[in-house]
């Protein structure tokens, strides 16, 4: 569960990114976070992943209180939150299999667990036949599916997708959104940050709109 209560975030330069944001995303929910550039969306993601701390207010993510989280607890928090980015952030010199396995290895998983889990996740995102390819040999849509596989492999309770379709054509964008919905159907909380109105309208889900650091609307798109 993600819970923001009256969260204010001021940067060192003095500009206020969030002006008292209050919102709650329950376990198993699928939710869009929309808003124009500079509205505070990225700040919300950084607060959820522990990259930033709130100036005031409270942020709770999957049982961790981020306003007072200890440094050594941050890796543990991040294992409960999978993040997918617009630019994929894959490691180009690793194969598809290794890109996914890497995420398990760096949290200390055993080779046996990795051998069991990685093929399952690759199958889930439809990349089971491309395990030996390198990211450079794949299309944008496939690379994003690989990024989703990497975010999923450690079985996080929440997936945050930051503009996941920003670099994709409409057909591939739809595929990615459908995949995220499928993942949500398996019980994972999904928060998609986007400014693509068409996609938001296509998937009738809860939409939190943010502007100038304020939540300006929170409801289901019809």
């Amino acid at each position: 569960m993600i819970e923001f209560t009256d969260v204010v975030k001021c940067y060192e330069q003095g500009n206020k990114a969030l002006n008292g944001v209050t919102m709650q995303i329950d376990d198993g929910e699928f939710c869009f976070l929309v808003g124009p550039s500079g509205s505070g969306k990225s700040t919300i993601i950084k607060l959820i992943t522990g990259e930033l701390r709130p100036t005031s207010g409270t942020v709770k993510v999957n049982g961790y209180a981020l306003e007072r989280i200890r440094k050594r607890e941050i890796p543990l928090l991040r294992r409960t939150v999978g993040v997918v980015f617009q630019d994929f952030r894959l490691i180009p010199n690793m194969t598809v299999y290794d890109n996914v396995a890497f995420a398990m290895r760096v949290i200390g998983a055993r080779e046996r667990e990795i051998r069991d889990r990685v093929p399952y996740v690759l199958e889930l995102v439809g990349l089971e036949n491309k395990a030996n390819r390198h990211p450079g040999e794949m299309s944008g849509g496939e690379q994003q599916r690989l990024a989703i596989a990497r975010a999923l492999v450690n079985n996080p309770s929440t997936i945050i997708a930051d503009e996941p379709t920003g670099n994709l054509d409409p057909a591939r964008s739809f595929e990615i959104m459908a995949l995220l919905q499928e993942i949500n159907n398996l019980g994972t909380t999904v928060l998609v940050v986007t400014h693509e109105k068409n996609l938001v309208e296509l998937f009738a889900k809860r939409v939190i709109a943010i502007d100038d650091g304020y939540v300006v609307s929170d409801g289901r798109e019809r």
Binding site: P75, R78, R79, G82, N93, R105, V106, G108, N154
Partner: protein, 295 residues
Amino acid sequence: MKFSNIGYLLKEGFKGIFLHGFMSFAAVCVTVACLIIVGSFSILAYNLDVMVQDLNQTSEILVYVDSDLSDAEARSIGTKINALNNVLQSTFVSREQALQDFVEDHNGDSAFNGVQPTDLRHRYVVTLEDNTLMEQTDAQLRQIPGVADTKAAYALAQGFSTIQQVLHIASVALIAVLLVISLLIISNTVKLAMYDRRDEIAIMKMVGATNGFIRLPFMVEGFTLGMMGAVLAFGLEWIGYDALVEKISTVDALKLFTFVPFETLLVPMILVFAAAGLFVGIVGSWTSIRKFMDV
């Protein structure tokens, strides 16, 4: 961190060296260059110190025995001379021996044929433990009954001591400066290597790797590169030094300079190079990676 991950982390550390071949090569080259500069200067400073020390050892006091004393009485003074604190060694030189040495020093010149041993005095050649105390020791020698006169080159001994002190201070300061410069250059090279891999580090942080887990492969890499640099620098230093000493020994004008054999410096050089290589490798990696850990 689980024990079962250690193997993986070590493997990743070694793999990183080859994956980022050019940066590894640059880091090793910089380490080798810096260590050779520091090492060469240290050896040069050590050799100069040994040479000055040897020259200083040749400073001695000549103690002339009263000519009224019998041979036996003259020889008995040696015990009193040796009892002085700063005396390292005293050698008795009889009148006869002194005359013989004198004539030999002048290539047996016949002009000295008429000189008799009784024209000279028995004497002691006294070497000191600490030449800076030559004046005090000379005064103590003059107090010994039966000592007629002494001859000591204070100025020369003082000069050697001053040269030695200046050499010590200059070499320590220069080595320290060179070491700091080397550290900065190496640390910068490692930083560039880290910059090359900032995305990888960011991904590791993002998926929940602990700082220790992220650091260890880089530390292994830094350690290995540092050691490689140290071993190479040590080998090149050894080969270069031996070649230089051999060359110098064949030049007549330079035969005055005696260099200590590298083998006598083996253990301290190995220790210094290994410590410096490890230090720059590990500290360089540690400080460089810190910058990229705040993701």
